[in-house]
């Protein structure tokens, strides 16, 4: 049996680490992100808390404490999950620098998605954890007592981050045809946050809208990881969440692969 190379010699591992390290080069930007997260967390916490209170202390299965957990876990994920639809690849396709990506003996898709996932993972430390700490300090949020919730929650979180970056990769690949893809990014931005549970839990939606949301990869990016991390969803239901996330990951990766293969033939790198 062929043994796997050590991580340092595996190019894909190196892309992931390059993402982590690249992001760590901007501590001030990260701090600004945290301040924004916390500010909007307070606003969102206030609104959602009032909504729960006005409906008699329970809303769509959320109590004041679990709603606070929803808000602050979500704020903690904002630096790691891509809800704005832009990426380095998008810029590189427009400028033609993507030529360099194709001149490496590796998968262009894996290299880009892993680099972005690396950036997202890094953001968990300076933005994710502090957001949750702030939430614990300023709200009534409770964290689950069961270690299984954390273990499954971390897997779900990792899947959520990866699904989002793999989907944004697909957004970027439309650039092979469109070149200018800001419009696609804006569409992604409008849909992804709403259906991922960025503003309210998707369980507050009317049935038809919830059904629609569940037909997209967006709940896999944030709502499901929050459900599992907060202990709101446990056991077999948590396993089902993870299963759906894995399916969506496979789908968006598959689409991204096909888009890369077809788009490459359309690529017209301008200039020298």
């Amino acid at each position: 049996m062929r043994s796997l190379p050590p991580p340092a010699r595996n190019p894909y591992w190196r892309f992931l680490v390059a993402g982590i390290r690249g992001q760590s080069a901007y501590p001030l930007a990260t701090l600004a992100g945290l301040v924004a997260n916390a500010t909007f967390g307070l606003l969102k916490g206030g609104i959602m808390g009032a909504a729960v209170e006005s409906s008699g202390g329970e809303l769509a299965g959320y109590s004041a404490a679990t709603m606070a957990a929803f808000v602050w876990l979500g704020q903690g994920m904002l630096g790691s999950v891509n809800f704005w639809g832009g990426s380095d690849l998008q810029a590189r396709i427009k400028s033609g620098d993507v030529a360099v990506d194709f001149l490496r003996p590796v998968s262009v898709q894996a290299a880009n998605v892993l680099t972005d996932v690396g950036k997202g993972l890094f953001a968990l430390l300076p933005r994710g954890l502090p957001s949750v700490v702030i939430g614990v300090l300023v709200s009534s949020m409770v964290l689950p007592a069961d270690p299984a919730a954390y273990a499954l929650g971390l897997i779900s979180l990792l899947l959520g981050i990866t699904v989002s970056h793999a989907t944004v990769y697909v957004v970027a690949t439309t650039g092979f045809w469109l070149v200018e893809t800001r419009g696609v990014s804006v569409l992604y931005m409008a849909l992804s946050g709403f259906f991922a549970g960025l503003y309210t839990p998707i369980y507050l939606f009317p049935d038809w809208l919830l059904t629609l949301a569940l037909l997209t990869p967006f709940p896999s990016m944030m709502q499901f990881p929050i459900d599992v991390l907060s202990g709101q969803v446990t056991g077999a239901a948590a396993g089902q969440h993870l299963g759906v996330q894995v399916v969506w990951l496979a789908v968006v990766l598959g689409v991204g692969h096909l888009m890369t293969r077809a788009g490459r033939r359309r690529l017209e790198v301008q200039g020298g």
Binding site: W13, A18, G22, A25, D97, F102, V106, V269
Partner: protein
Amino acid sequence: MNVIETEGLTRVFTGRPDRKNRLRRARHVAVDGLDLTVETGESVGYIGANGAGKSTTIKMLVGILVPTSGAVTTVGLHPLKQRRALARRIGVVFGQRSQLWWDLPVRESFSILSAIHSLSAGDERTRTAELVDMLEMGEFLTTPVRQLSLGQRMRAEVAAALLHRPELLILDEPTIGLDVLSKQRLREFLVAQRREHGTTLLLTTHDMGDVERLCDRILVVDHGRLAFDGTLDGLARTVGARRELVVDLATASPDLVDLDGAEHVRSESGGLRQRLAFDPQHTTAARLLAAVSERAEVLDLSITEPDIEDVVREIYRATRG
């Protein structure tokens, strides 16, 4: 073995629909039926005006642009179908695009690229040390790429393209924007690399110095077709590329005519500054200067190299007849 082989290689770009006739689209033939063969170990300068088709050719050679028609094989591989296998055997530097990781130290970029090219840990160490030494990169090895000067970054780019010891090195305007000293260093390094590893070199440039010092074969492309294929001497003979000696004299002097192997171009400031064109195949700058000094006291001098644009223009004029 032929490192590069193209047959009838053609690329047509189709633009937006014509405003007057919506059914028609503007067509631009960037590369037009190019037949090209480059053998192992050759050093080829690929020159031509902006938009002549140089970069388009290179993009097809390395598989980032699909030919409209014709065939191309690079190191015996099909660039589109065998992209990854090809990437392991060639090195490419696009002078205006970076293959390094912007936020990471130079050393880290080399290390990631070594992993991408499956170098062993030991090989990575020796190869990096060798390149760092030859390209004098020691002082900025731990600097993030975004903080490098252009000259430093170009050296790092060339090193990055050579880490995996490619058989073919393609340089697209490698010395663009570099100062004289940086250019000189880079050229010396490339000459040494070729000598040691037998690397085949294909470079596009607007710099006659690059061509003179690095290339033993010149290809001139015009409107996507080969206008010249031969040696530098042959090119100079074809277009009569001449250097120009500019002398500043102590006193206003009569025109310096009838000097052996030189032609008086013009005098300025009443004869204080004079320009003499000469063919380097017939005389040298030193000999000419000595001849001038016999007639007048020289205060200052400079030598202008033939401009590559002029050479290309001459070729175009000759071939279009």
